[in-house]
């Protein structure tokens, strides 16, 4: 525990009480804002007993379907974002082109816009009265109040995660290894799979984990576009919201606890990955030089 004091400010100048006060405040905030609500979710979910919990969360067909929808929507959104993120990071890190800086700041836009506004935006574009609405209806494509709408909204909201992880990594690595592969006779694909991907794999995986966590929890944009049809376009966060408003508290908290469990799993995966990568970086010590 002496580590934090040694970094930054010298220990002698900071009185001990201040240090412990600040650390105490941080712990208090963490406990009040994170630990207590988290435990609360699980305790209310289980308040009606284990059987009721299983019934509400794992047997109820609408809850099961919501789980399935969350899986479908987040896995497709994350897949789209992997392609988009890699392509964008590549373009931005390897090439100079007009509008490059603008593109980089545009990537952050989904972070800045409220998800509800995103939902309304898509509604105005693809809804029946929307800009593309009549064309889409002619072609028989449904976006609003159906799965594609949910995927679209989720993809938009989680757009920055993977690209943001990859851009600094690809910029730091630089193009030389890729160029070396080309001069050694590699084709574009060979270069990509043998050199680029192995170099960015940890950053990519990290981005995927964050993106997945965010995609599973997405509520605002999805809530506007889904129409909340139970057993059809309801994802887990929407299901929680609906059950809560129907005064089915144990049901709402049961589904919420499952969702929380998923989130905790991604968090553990992220921590494990960080631990693993750190260990693999530290291992090669330059001995016998």
């Amino acid at each position: 525990m002496t580590e934090p004091a040694r970094r930054g400010f010298s220990r002698s100048r900071e009185p001990a009480w201040l240090k412990w006060l600040l650390i105490g405040i941080v712990y208090l905030i963490v406990v009040v804002l994170i630990i207590v609500p988290l435990l609360q979710v699980f305790s209310i979910a289980l308040s009606a007993g284990w059987n009721a919990f299983v019934q509400k969360a794992l047997v109820d067909p609408d809850s099961l379907h919501a789980m399935w929808m969350t899986f479908v929507v987040s896995s497709i959104s994350v897949t789209i974002n992997i392609f988009f993120g890699v392509a964008l990071a590549w373009a931005v890190a390897r090439f100079q082109f007009p509008g490059r800086t603008l593109l980089i700041s545009m990537v952050d836009l989904p972070f800045a816009i409220s998800p509800v506004a995103v939902g309304l935006m898509f509604m105005l574009l693809f809804g029946r009265q929307g800009f593309f609405g009549s064309t889409l209806e002619e072609w028989g494509i449904e976006i609003v109040f159906s799965t594609p709408g949910l995927i679209l909204a989720t993809t938009f909201v989680t757009l920055p995660f993977i690209a943001r992880e990859l851009i600094p990594v690809m910029e730091a690595i630089g193009p030389d290894e890729e160029l070396a592969a080309i001069t050694l006779g590699a084709s574009g694909w060979q270069m990509f799979w043998l050199v680029t991907i192995p170099n960015i794999r940890w950053a990519l995986l990290y981005g995927v984990i964050l993106c997945t966590a965010r995609a599973m929890g997405e509520f605002g944009a999805v809530s506007v576009l889904s129409g909340k049809i139970a057993g059809s376009t309801e994802t887990m966060p929407l299901r929680v919201d609906k059950l809560f408003h129907e005064h089915d508290e144990p049901g709402a908290f049961a589904v919420a606890s499952i969702l929380t469990l998923f989130a905790l799993m991604t968090l553990i995966a992220k921590a494990a990955l960080e631990h693993w990568v750190l260990a693999s970086i530290k291992k090669p010590d330059a001995d016998e030089l």
Binding site: G174, D176, E177, L179, A180, A181, I182, T183, L184, G185, A186, S187, Q190, L194, V195, P198, N199, P284, D285, A286, D287, L289
Partner: protein, 353 residues
């Protein structure tokens, strides 16, 4: 295989990196591209490799026009300044990469990697990762990797630039030996004239996207074509004066101007630090009275800095060890400096006046 670059121009926006430049590397030759940063030497190397496209001009390997050929098909070995080793691969896999791409059998790859590890003196390190190697070892792996695909030409971009002085010195000599053993046409870029002179068969001195001089190290050093080359190749003492009747006159001293020199109202004499002698009594009427400012005797030569009131300039003089010990100058002392040899340049436009 010979490499010819003909009338190549390359611009980056408003900046002209290469300006209608023509140069040739003969087959089996070790050619150095020497110049300050921004002279276009790296751009030229990258155009030869195909990593950069020339706006105008032609690149030929032997007689074949390869200007539009993809770098993959050019058969070049390129070594980057910062090694560019594949960081997630072992030394073995790095060196074997090109052969793996060419779908060579495992046996052939193993055999050839062994040979190359021997050639670059890195046996026993095949299972290391680049992060576990020193800078010098990394650069040798990069060289082995480039040689593994049996390139027709080897291109080295500031290959020793990121290494410390001692390792750099060793690797230079080693590169020269390697080239004698494996005589592939090699072009390397450097900003270090010592490096270029020590390693190369011929040196191309570049400035602002143009060639200033091409020649053997001896030719370039002894007969610099112009003031830029003279200045770039090491410290020079500069005297301003005029050319009159075959003599360059600067203040109270006279230098022999090159034969057939026309009279010129302003000319410059360049004198290398080792071409100035220092004595207690004037050697001749042309000796310059100087005041010693600073002496640095640590090194192969003693470096003396002194000030000439007559010319208003600071002179740099390199004394041999013996000369220094015989003279034992001290700072603050007044001595006499005698330039023994100078190169005279008079601006071309002044000839017409």
């Amino acid at each position: 295989m010979s490499i010819r670059v003909e009338q190549v121009t390359k611009r980056f926006g408003a900046f002209t990196a290469l300006d209608r430049l023509t140069v040739e590397a003969k087959g089996g030759e070790l050619l150095a591209l020497l110049g300050p940063s921004g002279s276009g030497k790296t751009t030229l190397l990258r155009i030869i490799a195909g990593l950069e496209h020339a706006d105008e001009g032609v690149v030929r390997y032997e007689e074949e026009d390869v200007t539009g050929t993809h770098p993959r098909q050019r058969g070049v070995g390129f070594v980057f300044q910062h090694y560019a080793l594949f960081r997630h691969m072992t030394v073995f896999d790095n060196i074997g990469f090109g052969m793996r791409i060419r779908k060579e059998s495992r046996q052939v790859i193993t055999q050839r990697v062994r040979e190359l590890l021997h050639l670059v003196r890195l046996e026993g390190l095949e299972n290391r990762f680049p992060a576990q190697l020193s800078g010098g070892q990394r650069q040798r792996v990069a060289l082995a990797r480039a040689l593994a695909v049996q390139p027709k030409v080897l291109l080295l971009d500031e290959p020793f630039g990121a290494l410390d002085a001692k390792v750099r010195q060793e690797l230079r000599q080693w590169l020269r030996q390697l080239h004698d053993e494996v005589p592939i046409t090699t072009i390397f870029v450097t900003h270090d004239q010592e490096e270029a002179f020590e390693v190369a068969d011929r040196v191309v001195v570049m400035k602002s996207g143009r060639i200033e001089q091409v020649g053997s190290p001896q030719e370039v050093f002894d007969h610099p074509a112009n003031p830029f080359v003279m200045d770039f190749l090491g410290h020079v003492n500069v005297f301003h004066g005029r050319v009159h009747d075959g003599k360059m006159v600067a203040g109270g001293i006279e230098f022999n101007a090159p034969e057939n020199s026309a009279n010129a109202p302003n000319a410059t004499a360049y004198v290398r630090p080792h071409d100035v002698d220092l004595t207690r009594i004037p050697e001749s009427t042309e000796s310059i009275r100087v005041k010693i400012l600073q002496i640095n005797p640590a090194g192969a030569v003693a470096r003396v800095r002194c000030y000439s009131e007559e010319f208003g300039i600071t002179l740099q003089i390199d004394l041999s060890r013996d000369r220094y010990l015989a003279l034992k100058p001290v700072a603050g002392e007044e001595l006499f400096a005698s330039p023994r040899h100078a190169r005279i340049f008079s601006p071309k436009e002044d000839y017409s006046i």
